[in-house]
């Protein structure tokens, strides 16, 4: 991974808009658990077979602004991250309410190995 641009919660949407203006294709997002409280969200873009990434490091209990209004294709992967990591996205165009893959019987936020944010869970009840 050569070109990684760091970004914050406030600028991630505007940076994505810039990417779209530059003619980048949205590839996908990846979420990685770093420690008990933080996760990394990586946004991958492609233009003429050349990859560029945005890196957003956030707290697990924070809600992340959704980029699905910029790139519609992001809605699936954002729903997936909601399922797997219990992170909330604000302003999703199509929100499955954390039921894209997982039923109630399945474990909650299975991809968080270290800890699941309590705030998100209590917010649901």
């Amino acid at each position: 991974m050569k070109e990684v641009i760091s970004t914050t919660k406030g600028t991630v949407v505007s940076k994505t808009v810039d990417m779209k203006k530059d003619g980048y294709r949205f590839v996908t997002m990846s979420c990685v658990e770093l420690d008990a409280d933080t996760v990394d969200i990586l946004y991958h873009f492609d233009r003429d077979l050349h990859l560029k990434h945005l890196r957003l490091t956030i707290q697990k209990k924070e809600a992340v602004p959704s980029v699905s209004l910029v790139y519609f294709a992001a809605f699936l992967v954002e729903n997936e991250i909601q399922d797997q990591f219990g992170i909330r996205f604000d302003g999703l165009v199509l929100d499955y309410e954390r039921t894209l893959y997982l039923e109630k019987e399945a474990p909650d936020a299975p991809y968080c190995r270290i800890s699941v944010s309590r705030d998100v869970k209590s917010g649901e009840d």
């Binding site: 997982l102 039923e103 299975p110």
Partner: protein, 147 residues
């Protein structure tokens, strides 16, 4: 009436209809099931036809692991099939969960949810093995009572 019953039973074995449901397999078994239906292996020579409606089916071929979402579909399909019926579980995943047994969304083999009559091992089973499994199923089928 007895003659009619005997006739129905006999003809049923000569032409069982098959319903295939993929419940979370990797596709490997599914394409082998489809390969069975196509020219080289051709299970139509046993009178078997692939149908999409569970109410028409005598045989249920299930591939893959069961997860929390598709178990409802699986039960629903099995319940809609008229008696007598035969359930054939295909592939390592259908038998026990296979390589995915430790994954969080996997319950295990098909027999955790519905009773299974024939188990066909392999990852994926060869078409010959699938045909063998189906024919074994038919023997059991002939011994089953009407529902």
């Amino acid at each position: 009436m007895d003659i009619l019953k005997k006739l129905t039973r006999k003809s049923r074995i000569k032409s069982p209809w098959l319903l295939h449901f993929d419940c979370g397999s990797c596709n490997g078994c599914d394409i082998e099931v489809l390969a069975c239906l196509t020219p080289v292996y051709d299970i139509e020579r046993f009178g078997i036809i692939n149908v999409g409606n569970p109410k028409h089916a005598d045989l249920l071929l299930v591939t893959g692991t069961v997860n929390h979402r598709n178990k409802k579909v699986l039960v629903n399909l099995a319940e809609q099939m008229p008696e007598p019926k035969i359930v054939v579980a295909l592939g390592s995943c259908g038998l026990s969960g296979g390589v995915f047994r430790e994954a969080y969304n996997v319950i295990g083999g098909v027999d955790k949810i519905i009773p299974v009559d024939v188990y066909v091992p392999g990852c994926p089973p060869k078409p010959e093995a699938i045909i063998d499994g189906v024919v074994t199923g038919l023997e059991k089928f002939s011994k089953k009572k009407d529902g």
